[in-house]
Amino acid sequence: MSSKKSSISRRNFLRNTAYAASGILILPRHVLGRGFTAPSDKLNIAGVGVGGRAETNLPRAYNNGSDNIAALCDVDDRMAVKARGMWPNAPYYKDYRVMLEKEGKNIDALLITTPDHMHAPIAMAAMELGKHVYVEKPLTHDIYEARMLTQAAKKYKVVTSMGNQGSSGDDIRLIETWIQDGLLGDVHTVHVWTNRPTWPQGIPTPTGQFEVPKELDWNLWLGTAPQRDYNPAYLPAIWRGWVDYGSGSLGDMGCHFIDVPYFALKLGYPVSVETSVGSVYKGFFQEVINTDGFPPSAKSYIQFPQRGSLVPVKMIWYDGGIKPERPAELLPDEPMGENSGGMIFEGTKGKLMAGIWGKNATLLPTSRMKDVVLPKSKFPFVEGGADGHQQQWVKACKQGYGAYTSSDFAIAGPLTETVLMGNLAVRSYQYSETDAKGEKIFPGRKKLLWDGEKMEITNFAPANQFVKRNYRSY
């Protein structure tokens, strides 16, 4: 992509963000000077979205007071109860835009744990102010947003990390070492599966009129998403199944599983994607395709090209209960993966199976673990492993731009794009048109070819609507 094109698209992105729309001044980083480093050498962290997963993220970043929780922000008071109890002196906001405006000078970094659709607008606004960011997985809701955040991290020179904590674990480093040491030969196929969704998908869009709970600012919860009436069916957590807010099984678990092969095999941008999904029938011959939501299950094929000396890789993703075939080397009674899912690497010289985050990695047949001398990790372990992921980011923030994090946006961005490619395929698969005879047709049910640099499906134009959303001004 030419740099000219890039800056134009970024400008469009900024114009679209709620941040720009609300007229808040975007301060260049140099204006802020060194003021953003706390004199106390504590990192001043603002939490945006402070319930649920943030109840783990924030305490780990806070680290018993070695760093400072400087501000809290949540659109739902009920979700903030615990965090506000823990840090009663931290000013509390409902709107991150107001928080950034009022507390900008008191904040060094943001830890963002909102629903997926708000990750990018909040992270971009923070980065533009020179704040370091930790963003829950998936990094963004859209492929385009992931590309923009990746570029912004470089441009604004901020320390970044995505919340796929397994990327700080020992296991991923071991697998990376084993594969790069050639234990599997040339890896050409990777199967990845999850038991997600573990919430209803493939269901009708919720209806009915409900009063918005007084603790919740529904307009702010919606943020950049299209206007829609409040419905308790969306929150908390189960927004994941709805395309306006979440990113389905892939968004929930993709980053926790796919990061292992992505790092180990240096996958980069895929070149094509193909999918099929579990159908839903409400009556005899009455299929229901609700494009507001993700389907109950999917099986997707994501193809990666030759990368230097590395052979092309086919990645197969399974969710909703559908699993890959058991490898021939796995004995009939041996478990495959674990309850939440698993991964299997197939190479010219062997196979490797592991659980989420690369846990319990084993060569196949499992007896091979006793037969080979396993190399020690070529990569230094992260202090605290996966549980040290948040602290790793905090320490890196204090060291400044350039300090290593396990999942900085330079890699988390392309990883997230890959994960979201699966969703692009699923949404294209569900996309229908009416033909001349008045029949419903599904023209997106084919192999979609992807131009990674241009962020474009080249053989099915309607698919490109799923690369980038339009934001609502709110």
Binding site: N195, P197, T198, W199, P200, Q201, A237, I238, E274, S276, V277, G278, S279, V280, Y281, K282, G283, F284, F285, E287, P295, P296, S297, A298, K299, Y301, I316, Y318, G320, G321, I322, K323, E325, R326, L330, P332, D333, E334, P335, M336, F442, K446, K447, L449, N459
Partner: protein, 474 residues
């Protein structure tokens, strides 16, 4: 010895024996079972829906006479009664066979799956030729018994997989025998079935039995259960008590072309996975009585005479295989949405649709360039009249496309998939670690099948699905 014993049990337990009917050896019947008029007098058991069209198809032969109609539901039989006003009507096939067996030459069974075997065996024991809808039986054990009975009672048999009389299956066999794709190593088969709601559990409540329906007879050998309108006339397919799910519905139509082309026999291993249903977040619903909404089943067939093993991968409920490399991005994969078959050989690939329709070599351009001489006779008279003619000619005189010696192992293969799907749902409660009920699923592994002894050898619990207990009195 063992097999004999079980076969005897089976015979003893059939309604026919239980109801005190005498089993008349064929030699006693003498030639009396061939109608003097050279007409084949057919009794239709199950005369609505598919049964209605089956009987109509037989009647296209001037030598076929639809002499008796039997159905447990006045609504279902209506059209057949109008079409064949001279045919005498019964509700209970046991009564019909007892009273009319001297006036019946052949029986067509087109009931729900759970009644196929008992009705067919009773007819065969009386020396009647039988045409039985697919799948041949509800249980693996029943399929084996019918296969043996066809030989023992020397009757002409045909399963209702009408595609097996089509040209497509024959063209594929000719291609395969000519070595166009080398030796088959993998077969992929998929269907869009179920195209009715499936995986939802037993419908709640109970309805009043309609005046037109004899519910007790509809249940047949199935266990006592209160009537619900959802079961009749079609959705019984989705419940293991009566039906056999997507595999039972379409497996015989889709697996048949591959089974015949490659010449498969009994499988030796099976594994599966299936979509989980979440009506609320985090805890999956548990509906072991329902067939799943989507599934993936992998069967292994041992290689014959030095040939490689053949792996068959079945997918239903919307999940389909990856498009083969040789297929153009915009070319149709299998049927237009309904399903398809892909046979992968050491030297090439054959693709076809449901019923063996549109056989194609891949790449599709190759299809036109080959000319393999026709070695197999076509069936211009069609599947139904073929059976009528064979019955008139007598046992062993004329070829039929899907006699039980072939349809039996094919049906067993299909039902092996169901055995795996049902074994998948066997669960054992284990000590809870989180206050919620937790279970282990010991059947979620590769199941090894001893076909000769009809037994899963590495998980005994699975063997409950080889053979049902019939309701008392059946």
């Amino acid at each position: 010895m063992k097999a004999n014993n079980s076969r005897r049990d089976f015979l003893k337990s059939t309604s026919l024996a239980a109801a005190g009917f005498m089993i008349v050896p064929r030699h006693v019947l003498g030639r009396g079972f061939v109608a003097p008029s050279d007409k084949l007098r057919i009794a239709g058991i199950g005369a609505g829906g598919k049964g209605e069209s089956d009987l109509f198809e037989f009647s296209k032969s001037p030598q076929a006479e639809i002499a008796f109609l039997c159905d447990v539901d006045d609504r279902q039989i209506k059209k057949s009664v109008e079409r064949f006003p001279k045919a005498k009507r019964y509700y209970d096939w046991r009564e019909m066979l007892e009273k009319e067996h001297k006036s019946i030459d052949a029986v067509s069974v087109s009931t729900p799956d759970n009644v196929h075997a008992v009705a067919a065996l009773a007819a065969m024991q009386l020396g009647k030729h039988v045409y039985v809808q697919k799948p041949l039986t509800h249980d693996i054990y029943e399929a084996r018994m019918l296969t043996e009975a066809a030989k023992r009672y020397k009757v002409v048999t045909q399963m209702g997989n009408q595609g097996s009389s089509g040209d497509g299956v024959r063209i594929m066999q000719e291609w395969y025998r000519a070595g166009l794709i080398g030796d088959a190593t993998e077969i992929q088969v998929w269907t869009n079935r179920p195209i009715w709601p499936q995986g939802l559990g037993t419908p709640p409540g109970t309805d009043t039995v309609p005046a037109e329906l004899k519910w007790d007879l509809w249940l047949g050998p199935a266990q006592e259960q209160t009537y619900h309108k959802e079961y009749v006339p079609f959705s019984w397919r989705g419940f293991w008590a009566f039906g056999t799910g997507a595999l039972g519905d379409m497996g015989c139509h889709l697996i048949d072309p591959a089974f015949k082309t490659v010449g498969l026999g009994y499988p030796n291993a099976v594994e599966c996975s299936q979509v989980a249903i979440f009506e609320k977040a985090w805890t999956p619903e548990y509906f072991p009585e329902s067939c799943p909404a989507a599934s993936s089943v992998i069967l292994n067939f041992p290689g014959k005479s030095g040939k490689p093993d053949v792996k068959m991968h079945w997918m239903d409920g919307g999940i389909i295989p990856q498009r083969p490399e040789e297929l153009g991005a915009d070319e149709q994969f299998g049927d237009n949405g309904g399903g398809g078959v892909l046979i992968i050989g050491t030297k090439g690939k054959i693709m076809c649709g449901t019923y063996g329709a549109d056989p194609t070599l891949l790449p599709t351009s190759k299809t036109k360039t080959v000319s393999v001489p026709q070695t197999l006779a076509r069936v211009p008279e069609g599947h139904y009249v073929q059976w009528v003619n064979a019955c008139l000619a007598g046992y062993g005189q004329k070829e039929v496309s899907s006699p039980f010696e072939y349809a039996g192992p094919l049906t067993e293969t299909i039902l092996m998939g169901n055995l795996a799907l049902r074994t998948w749902n066997i669960r054992i409660e284990k000590p809870s670690t989180n206050g919620r009920k937790q279970f282990s699923y010991p059947g979620r592994k590769k199941l090894l099948w001893d076909a000769v002894n009809m037994k899963i050898t590495n998980y005994d619990e699975a063997n409950q699905f080889v053979k049902r207990e019939y309701r008392k009195g059946w």
